[in-house]
Symmetry: C2
Subunit: 630 residues, 2 copies
Amino acid sequence: MRFGYKAWMLSEELKVESGEFFAEEEFRRGIVGFFGEEKFKASFDIDENLPLEGFSVAGGADGLKISGGCESGLLYGAYAALFALKRGEAAEKISISQKPAVEKRILNHWDNGDGSVERGYSGGSLFWRDGKIGYDLPRLRDYARLLASVGINEISVNNVNVRLQTAKLLTDEGLKDLVKVAEVFRPFGIRLIISVHFDSPVWLGGLKTSDPADPKVADFWNAAAARVYGKIPDLAGFLVKADSEFQSGPNAFGHTQDVGANVIAKALKPHGGTLYWRCFIYNCLQDWRDTVTDRPKAAYDTFFPLDGKFDQNVILQVKHGPSDFQVREPNSPLLGALKNTREALEFQIAQEYTGQQKDLYAWAVQWEEILDAPFNEERTTRDLIGKEIEAIVAVSNTGDDENWCGHLMAQANLFAFGRLAYNPALTAKAVTEEWVSLTFGNAAEIHAPIAKMLLDSRHVYEKYNAPLGICWMVCIHHHYGPSPDGYEYMKWGTYHRADTKAIGVDRTRNGTSYTAQYQPFVRDLYENLQTCPQEMLLYFHRLPYDFKLKDGRTMIQYIYDTHFEGVEGVENFITVWESLKGKIPDEAYTHVRERLAMQLENAKEWRDVINSYFYRKCGIPDEKGRTVYV
Amino acid sequence: MRFGYKAWMLSEELKVESGEFFAEEEFRRGIVGFFGEEKFKASFDIDENLPLEGFSVAGGADGLKISGGCESGLLYGAYAALFALKRGEAAEKISISQKPAVEKRILNHWDNGDGSVERGYSGGSLFWRDGKIGYDLPRLRDYARLLASVGINEISVNNVNVRLQTAKLLTDEGLKDLVKVAEVFRPFGIRLIISVHFDSPVWLGGLKTSDPADPKVADFWNAAAARVYGKIPDLAGFLVKADSEFQSGPNAFGHTQDVGANVIAKALKPHGGTLYWRCFIYNCLQDWRDTVTDRPKAAYDTFFPLDGKFDQNVILQVKHGPSDFQVREPNSPLLGALKNTREALEFQIAQEYTGQQKDLYAWAVQWEEILDAPFNEERTTRDLIGKEIEAIVAVSNTGDDENWCGHLMAQANLFAFGRLAYNPALTAKAVTEEWVSLTFGNAAEIHAPIAKMLLDSRHVYEKYNAPLGICWMVCIHHHYGPSPDGYEYMKWGTYHRADTKAIGVDRTRNGTSYTAQYQPFVRDLYENLQTCPQEMLLYFHRLPYDFKLKDGRTMIQYIYDTHFEGVEGVENFITVWESLKGKIPDEAYTHVRERLAMQLENAKEWRDVINSYFYRKCGIPDEKGRTVYV
């Protein structure tokens, strides 16, 4: 079952007869790949009454009938049919009808020109090597199929931290190879996005300034867009990280974000392109002594006053939380708050702070929590999707490792992202079970324990990590492993200010007033110690170690308890996994077993460091007398 | 006075008539460089009654008479005469007679093949670029003069952490350029040392093992030595960092250090070469939970049992302290403890933990403290030199910055090292004043305040850093700036274990028994809280924050006080320096003023982080009510 180890979707090139539609060819290829012969037949048609990328699949006596609202819809229908057949559904009884919740379902690659991947834990870049893009087009074709099979339809191909090598994508030289990459992804309904550097007018255009108010700068962007669209007419657009973590931006020239965004957006407009503008802006040179500035407030403070000032082809790309893809954060108050500005919701599939694809971590569970969280008294965040939120984006977890994702089980995250972006109403349980059965088969004795491991993994990981939403107790720079004070005296705006009595930042109206950025219902929910979700207590409140939780335990005892439980959870994963030996392919068994050993080490390190750290701060021992290193 | 800015010694190539001895030419060049014309004359002769590298300089009616025990001694005599004349001594009255305390006065360069310098703060390598050595031979000639002028007579040219590029120095290809470098240094009496990788037999020899017991490995080293000495017959020897910080070594093959060293030493022996074998061996993968292992014990534990087992051409190279060039450490108990093994004392001129040539730090003051420290009831460490200690080594602070040392004032450290290695009886005050007057001239109004700044700098720096010898409260990896818990949960064996009540590791007989490695007199001195030098209290003892010091202050109050005083010390440096404006060359004034501004920032950061850290640990406020950030 080597195929299953590589990914859920067929990754060898099987030659099959072509049909009227590309979807037909993909279907035949899938059937032969999955079943060894053309066991199932299907008919294909475009039905303009269906939503644009929607589809229907209907079983019948003469085979399956697959309809799509367009070629992409048809392709999604073909893959949906393949998945259903692979999961053992009877062909005659298949009846599926779907349409995407948002038009734009996007993967951002943080790939550098030298072949490295920022926050990549799956080998090198699939796109770049030695400054050139597209060095392995056949593998990119496999990758395109993998992404299309879960409904992803736009990808950025270079890191948002753009350096000179990838900045050159805007030049004739850079475009030469990018055109070939676009050709690979085009039949799969996937359009490219280019991450561009705000200083491109200086870097590439020979100008003395990147000031967006300078007409020469506008000319540069107009010419650059024309050049790119001349070669890749269906390019989705540009992506910009500006005024963020040492990247240049409009602030440097005394302008607000809209001024910087609109000059580029206007260049894209004639070509139908979208400008994705990231909202991850904060003071990364904060003085730790400054207790007034509160980093989580930054994105809202920057962008909320600009609502309505962005051109219509600008989409603001907002990270799901106000910090940075931490194990536990509240949702960003910016999501849904902008009434006259388009927004994208940004996730991270790469496990930067969540185990770096050594530790098991099913993002789908956290994403479900995020979507379930209230926007106001009437609506959840999920209810914003397809309305205020027009696009769903994620930072990719893929690389040139044979299994694409470093950890075989991390494939579940790529799979879940695509499925949830297409249909956010799906449960974490449903998409996780779907991936498990496509990868390991449908036998309950295999399927159920693996799915349970994945579904438990988010909470097990959270238990042994930074407690109660405190964030950032992580080793600096590389972000793997515990370092409770690692960021405490640094410039990144990430402080917990633990002393002998208490820990946390008061973000209520009595403190930094971060909570005021939320809708009143949510603000009150988080401000009130009785209603604030327990797992986010330390995100919003500064609390003494002997604070009583609802179950009567002190906070410090809860911290000790959860950290012991976290390690037990990983030990339990290992027991479960070992029970699967011989039932799943050896290669997959051994690979995951090795990663679980690494995870156990990591979990123990977190448990012991966090417990010791708190004991050394407050001097209160574990009531149960377990080993806390003093 | 551009010359003064570049260094104390002439660095332009002035063409002068050559004489019978190279020293004559150097003398004439110096006179013309210093005084613009051949204002002073001298006669030169080799006097075999003088010690080998000793010399005498005598003023007289017909000019100076300079004698040397050999060509090197003559050269040192010429430089001594130049220095005296430059400092304004009357030629007729000059009368100097000196001889070196140790035969080997060595600089280790931690330069990498790619041109970077490990722990280098003065630009790139003077030796290496793009994998090749000797890219700028004229500048190396200036450098050789600089080193010879203070009596340095051996240098290693590549990092002790040897990588493939510099490992290749042992090959014909690598030697081709090294020969040219040797030619540059030879007339200045400076011999080269090559740092070699213990795995060279595998890397270069195509062998399957580096096991020193394998006859093929011995053959490899014999051939390598023969090859090198065939090209550079006066090579001083090889330098090895083995079994240390992920470098390979004899331990990997189940052998003790002597077995690894002797196989290489035997290869060097027929050629008269010395093997320098570093003693910086410890467990760099320690579990922080392990309170039995105590890193400072490692070198003694490893090498003391091997006393007498090393070949006679092996010199063990021992860092001055048992930690790693920290701001405050006791001396290594290994120094002087080996009765049948040759030893070198290793200093670091590079300011890795002492301000990285941004902060002012006169090592001479610390070195004097080190030399003054007792070895036993009768002898100081200085008394070991020339007896148990046969060589003095330092890690260089030089690079290709125009001023050689990054910070102009850091030149004083290179100068002081050479002078003290030649004559350890010199005081820090004497060598510092010597450098100041050679660099800034002899006017008291300039000379005195600069010398005082330098002489105060070590204690000012110590005041705002990790207190009372606690060590390692420094940002991880790069080692600049404070991070009190940065190394606390890591694998490097560097823990202070601060909790709400106390801090430090008990290294007495009640604790790890590290003190037992010292001679009984010194052991008792450090074990006893009454006699342990105050500034090393936390190196040897675990103490409560309210521990009473001799002056009646609590330890925590002492920590607060010194940290405020440290910043005041830097502010005072700035006041003093600003009073020199217009009196010293603008270029030097501005350069040092900029560095002092950086130092003030750093000092404030240390003050506030350390004070906050301790306040947050113990909750005891500053008695004087100054600002401690909570």
